[in-house]
Subunit: 403 residues, 2 copies
Amino acid sequence: MIRSSPAPVPLEQLSRRAPHSGCIPASLHPPGRGASRSLPGAQGVNRARGGRCRRWRAGLGRAPRSPPGNSERLCRFPSGGSRCSRYKAYMAPGSSKEKKSDDGQASKENFIHLCNPHLEKMKEDILYHFALGTGTHDFPKLFGDVKFVCVGGSPSRMKAFIAYIAEELGLGSPGCDYPNICAGTDRYAMYKVGPVLSVSHGMGIPSISIMLHELIKLLYHAKCSDITIIRIGTSGGIGLEPGSVVITRQSVDATFKPQLEQVVLGKTVIRSTNLDEQLAKELMQCSKEIGQFNTVIGNTMCTLDFYEGQGRLDGAICLYDEGEKLQYLKNAYESGVRNIEMESSVFAAMCNLSGVKAAVVCVTLLNRLEGDQISSPHDVLVEYQQRPQKLVGYFIKKSLGKV
Amino acid sequence: MIRSSPAPVPLEQLSRRAPHSGCIPASLHPPGRGASRSLPGAQGVNRARGGRCRRWRAGLGRAPRSPPGNSERLCRFPSGGSRCSRYKAYMAPGSSKEKKSDDGQASKENFIHLCNPHLEKMKEDILYHFALGTGTHDFPKLFGDVKFVCVGGSPSRMKAFIAYIAEELGLGSPGCDYPNICAGTDRYAMYKVGPVLSVSHGMGIPSISIMLHELIKLLYHAKCSDITIIRIGTSGGIGLEPGSVVITRQSVDATFKPQLEQVVLGKTVIRSTNLDEQLAKELMQCSKEIGQFNTVIGNTMCTLDFYEGQGRLDGAICLYDEGEKLQYLKNAYESGVRNIEMESSVFAAMCNLSGVKAAVVCVTLLNRLEGDQISSPHDVLVEYQQRPQKLVGYFIKKSLGKV
């Protein structure tokens, strides 16, 4: 059963609630997109919200930081005539409002910082690749209690994670299946138990980018607050024993710069790929407390290709020799890179812009200084892939006061 | 039952064979990667092949074209000291050898042009994202008769396509299921019936790029010849009635240039994204013969993002206004762009380099000059998505002399 209250649940209350069941009601899925737009609870997106950002400032060079405590950031369109081809955008504070906890302590509730003024004008918002929409689904009811979102490439791994976290949090019931909330499409898979949402994102920057656009809108429409998003994935390590876990300090591109280049309306845009330092430290502390596998904090290189883009010699196309490859990987190591994957840069950039705390936790399946092919036995790889799940599962339990 | 002969089947013989059944034997899947490396028929990749390219020339500016009739192209590593950060690579002729058909006519058989000398040194090749390997699977036996490969984003659509083509070619049997050849992973799905292979590729350039590296190696290891690869997909149209089908003339980037920029060992590489003109014309002729939907030949813009990258106003982040968006789309239209998707550029570039005939056939789900959201009813979208399948299905039937 999913919580029926549309209001977000303060984090500190979650640990005191009776256990949620992980099962999603069958009524979640409408009969078909476009078939019914007037289900009970259906609503548009055109509603007021305190502290919401309206427009985003973008201009030449460094954008001015908001003064401390100014939680509402003014976003303006870049001016048409003098717009520059490159600009930077920095971490947006989540829109926030003050709330009081049960013991009268005041604290701030951080909402999603949606940086798109056009959505206000839309009567409904269809999240096409999730097969969900504000006209057919009651987002606050379905997702309003979400506090932790874990994302990863593989649908089956994200299903396994939801079963794991349900058991860890004492929210699972024996034999309970966790249905795919995005069953109307095979683009992504989504599962939920209590305050945890688990979503697959496929492989590569474009694939996770589509998912994140729709996920951020989903969390916004659901009026979620105080969200933490963690990517749990696999990667190639550099100079690390296979099976090591890397918590990303910065996501860097294939030239080792902590930035993401995107092309928007034909112009190059550069965005910051910093991640939440405090969250990375908390995750590192969790790994020490678990004490089961080697974990480091390091830079993660994010590439657009698995073979040539990561200097592999075993793709269908390879125009360089082993010496050039090794030199490139050694240069990466010297610049602080400890692992390579394909999603972290846009993940960091979009979470920054949306004011969401984010972390990337990936296990290394091999040491790229020693080879390219992933040839470890299946059971060894399966155990490696469980390590980020264990670490993030422990972090969530600890955050909820269940450790 | 899959054909047991490892030798490639001449295209002209295929139409005269008794119908193949589409079912894949259960013995296809080994018990687990790494568990057994010595199945009957297992073989390494280190074998001689006539006409195989060893090294690829890459240097500053335009690479010299091979003289006509010179089917073996010399590939050299770029020289380390003087290597340039940008170079172009052009269409490689497939490695070929002469063969005689039943009536004594001589013709050339085109093999995959594998542009990686390092693979020769590998004892086995693990196609990690397919969960297949030369040490555990007999590629010539499983795939040697493949002549047509159809690729598309969605696993379920590619499964539907294999059932459709099986019926069209008279190769299906009632109630026959088409098992996923890549059942050992959920990264991609692959189905086969007779000479047709159907493979999903997920969303975006990185995702299809991984699939194509492994697909091209699979076809090479299987000793396939005379391969045609067609991407069947969905897209946003520009200035076209929704449901129109676009056969891509050239894939262009977000600045309307017919090229793909990749970063290899930290250096930018630019590759041509031309597609086979003759194949596009043949597909256009097929559409005329079917006469069921509007089809055009036009340029296809390939972007790294679905929302900002395609000028949508409905993503989680949008820093431009409607006027700027429309101007961008009109500029695209004026440059010859008729639809936008997210995979065609690397598809064209990699097929060029591998000497494989390739085409992109995408239906348009909406006219982007009129909106951003895909809001047509589900059944309408399903019918639209069947149009590229119908067109390519008819083309394959015609190529096999079954029309």
